[in-house]
């Protein structure tokens, strides 16, 4: 089988894939919209219990990582492999930082007895129960995407080191970068919807 490389085709495929990811989250956003419409006061109360500082910190982390990944692509295209690798490492480190942060945030919530099906949640008004249900579902799914994205970037970095992804053949890195931007973008919506709603 001849190995043909179709740069534009690869890009098109990636964009379509990103679209499906948006739609995947779209189902949850739809639920969020419907329940917010039904229980605005409870959502307000739920939002008050989330830590804006932690959320904001994670927002800054992700935006920074979007910058580093974009810069890594430029670096590779300019032929600066070492800088590219360094920037990719920074991106993955930021991703891990995000997850650690998230871990502490979730643990604190769970420590307060706020987790799906908990006794504490059952005593809260229905809207708050839904708010936290959505909180865990959406940030959980997003966290999973952070993990996948970080893995993807690590694999790409390894391929850059091996010389399989290069200045002349940077499609994979670019697509990994696009994926990472999507992860960032979703968070940009999650942050206000959960942390700033109050």
């Amino acid at each position: 089988m001849s190995e043909h490389r179709d740069y534009a085709g690869g890009k098109l495929g990636m964009w379509i894939f990103l679209f499906t990811e948006i739609l995947l989250f779209g189902g949850l956003f739809l639920l969020y919209a419907a329940y917010l419409h039904r229980y605005p006061a409870d959502f307000n109360a739920g939002g008050k219990q989330l830590d804006v500082v932690l959320g904001a910190a994670n927002t800054i982390i992700l935006i920074t990582s979007s910058f580093t990944v974009a810069a890594s692509i430029t670096a590779l295209r300019l032929g600066q492999t070492a800088r590219c690798l360094w920037l990719l490492a920074a991106t993955v480190a930021l991703a891990l930082g995000f997850l650690v942060n998230k871990f502490f945030e979730w643990s604190a919530k769970i420590g307060h007895g706020i987790y799906p099906g908990s006794q504490h949640l059952l005593q809260m008004p229905p809207g708050e129960n839904l708010f936290f249900g959505l909180y865990y579902a959406m940030t959980g799914l997003h966290g999973l995407h952070v993990l996948i994205g970080a893995t993807l970037l690590s694999v790409t970095a390894a391929l850059v080191r091996k010389g399989r992804v290069t200045q002349g053949n940077f499609g994979l890195l670019e697509n990994a970068g696009l994926y990472w931007h999507l992860v960032d973008l979703v968070w940009i919506f999650l942050f206000p919807l959960f942390y700033l709603i109050a």
Partner: protein, 540 residues
């Protein structure tokens, strides 16, 4: 034209390097992957059909016979899950589409051959999990293929595994769609302009977009059912503020468009077959191509017609009823165009044409009864009755099923280079057509008389219809056995078919039968439309 390998094995010949099974399950050749799908779909079809036969046998007599109520619930659930997600959705696109799309646009393969293989592996994984879910946990799923909450959250049967399986199948479907869209955009041969695409390719294109845009919603919905069961989220639990109606919305946002994933490729098959056997250009090429896209678009706006009795607002009911009528228009356009193509054509009644005509008839019945349900007033009466079961079997089995059979009779000589017995094929067609109508038509009447669907038992007054319907299932089974045996025999031992036995004008008929691994010896240059038969001769 002689390609020097008439009677050769083409891509079916053992590949150099890899041998045996590995040269199939590790292949990136779209034709081999297509055949892998075809084998799996065929096997699952056999399982699903067997379940259906048993269900029908049980329903022949009222009261507790043959199987118990819980087994009955599990069986109709599995019948639905297998037929919808494992058979009908991948049937035409993933098997024949995979084989034919690159051939029809003059490409060497799809855009992402390895992703294509990966999709197939996901399909196998999903199918395996679905089968495992029957035998493990505490009982086979009993929710119906729709997995409606709150029951699907509460039932102790193995729903969690089943929804995981369907989610994985959804991913497989998404990746196939993504691959096809990219392929059609990027890999058309020189001269293959958008208005020279065979209409089958157009229908695959529209289908692929629906697969890409609708399936993620199914994915997230079923992930949520899983999360509800395992993590106890409570998002659809009315006891904790959730709303089961939202589940229904999310489910049908995918599953209505999915019915067009099922039927559009079959429509494409019919559009490709009819001109060949009428020796006439298709009537209204652009309208047919456009109506595929129109169906894809309008079909994504009508989902709530499955929920007229679920307690939506009256406004919603009216709006969705109106939109449902709109979506019937592009479907009707196609039917009229096929009939107009036949008008004054020089028709030769070969098996592929017969099955296509069967499609048109069955789909018309199914589509028109769809309108009965689309009208909110009448749907209140027929919703959740046997009328619905009649409707969707006419469109899915009578439509997609016969479309698939038409496609098999049309393209099998290309894929295997051998011809089946045409007389037996015609005979099997008539038996199948009679069987289907005896099986499904009584359901309309039973439904109008008020027989609810999915019930284990029924009142004696419905007995006549039930018996008739079960007799139909036997006739149908006989027809199917004859048809598959004939196709199988033709594929293995039939006479050599030649490169272009039907005298068709699309690209796949210009290469040898079976096609060589890289599809074309020289990259084809397209100079005429797909249904321009001037200078095209039969080559048997």
């Amino acid at each position: 034209m002689d390609h020097g390998n008439v009677g050769g094995l083409g891509f079916l010949a053992p590949a150099p390097g890899r041998k045996g099974l590995l040269s199939w399950i590790g292949t990136t050749d779209h034709k081999r992957i297509g055949l892998l799908y075809m084998g799996c779909v065929g096997f699952m079809f056999f399982c699903g059909a067997a379940l259906g036969m048993i269900l029908r046998l049980k329903l022949m007599t009222p009261g507790s016979t043959l199987v118990g109520p819980q087994t009955y619930n599990a069986m109709f659930t599995l019948h639905g899950v297998i037929m919808i997600f494992l058979v009908v959705i991948p049937s035409i696109p993933a098997s024949l589409g995979n084989i034919l799309l690159p051939l029809q646009i003059g490409a060497e393969d799809v855009s992402f051959p390895r992703l294509n293989l990966f999709s197939w592996w996901l399909y196998v994984l999903g199918a395996t999990l679905a089968v495992v879910s029957i035998f493990t946990g505490s009982g086979a799923p009993d929710t119906g293929w729709t997995f409606y909450v709150p029951f699907s959250e509460r039932t102790t049967t193995n729903v969690s595994l089943a929804v995981t399986a369907v989610t994985i199948l959804g991913f497989s479907s998404i990746l196939t769609g993504l691959n096809f869209v990219t392929t059609i955009h990027r890999l058309r041969a020189p001269g293959m302009t958008w208005t020279r695409l065979p209409l089958f390719v157009w229908s695959l294109y529209a289908t692929a977009w629906i697969q890409v845009l609708a399936t993620p919603i199914l994915g997230i919905t079923l992930v949520l059912v899983f999360a509800e069961r395992v993590l106890n989220l409570g998002l659809f639990d009315p006891g904790r503020g959730g709303d089961p109606l939202l589940y229904q919305h999310l489910f049908w946002i995918y599953s209505h468009p999915a019915v067009y994933i099922m039927v559009l490729p079959a429509m494409g098959v019919i559009s490709d077959i009819i001109p060949v056997f009428a020796r006439k250009n298709i009537f209204g090429y652009k309208m047919i191509a456009f109506s595929s896209l129109a169906i894809a678009f309008a079909g994504s706006l009508v989902w709530a017609h499955h929920m007229f009795t679920s307690g939506m607002s009256d406004t919603a009911v009216l709006v969705f009823s109106f939109l449902t009528f709109i979506v019937a228009i592009p479907s009707a356009i196609k039917v009229f165009n096929w009939v107009s193509t036949l008008y004054k054509g020089s028709i030769s009644v070969e098996p592929p044409l017969l099955f296509s005509l069967g499609f048109i008839f069955m789909f018309s019945v199914g589509g028109l009864t769809g309108l009965v349900q689309g009208a909110a007033g009448t749907d209140i009466h027929v919703h959740d009755t046997y009328f619905i079961v009649g409707h969707f079997h006419y469109v899915i089995f009578g439509g997609t099923g016969l479309g698939m059979f038409a496609a098999l009779h049309f393209w099998l000589p290309k894929i295997f280079g051998r011809m089946y017995d045409r007389g037996v094929a015609k005979l099997s067609f008539w038996i199948i057509l009679v069987g289907m109508n005896v099986l499904y038509f009584p359901m309309f009447i039973l439904g109008l008389e008020g027989l609810p669907r999915r019930y284990y038992d029924y009142l004696p007054k419905y007995a006549h219809g039930q018996v008739l319907s079960t007799i139909g299932s036997w006739i149908l089974a006989v027809g199917l056995v004859i048809m598959f045996a004939n196709l199988y025999r033709g594929m293995r031992r039939g006479p050599l078919a030649g490169d272009n036995p039907w005298g068709a004008a699309t690209l796949e008929w210009t290469t040898s039968s079976p096609p060589p691994t890289n599809n074309f010896e020289v990259e084809p240059v397209v100079t005429h439309g797909p249904y321009d038969f001037r200078g095209v001769a039969r080559h048997e």
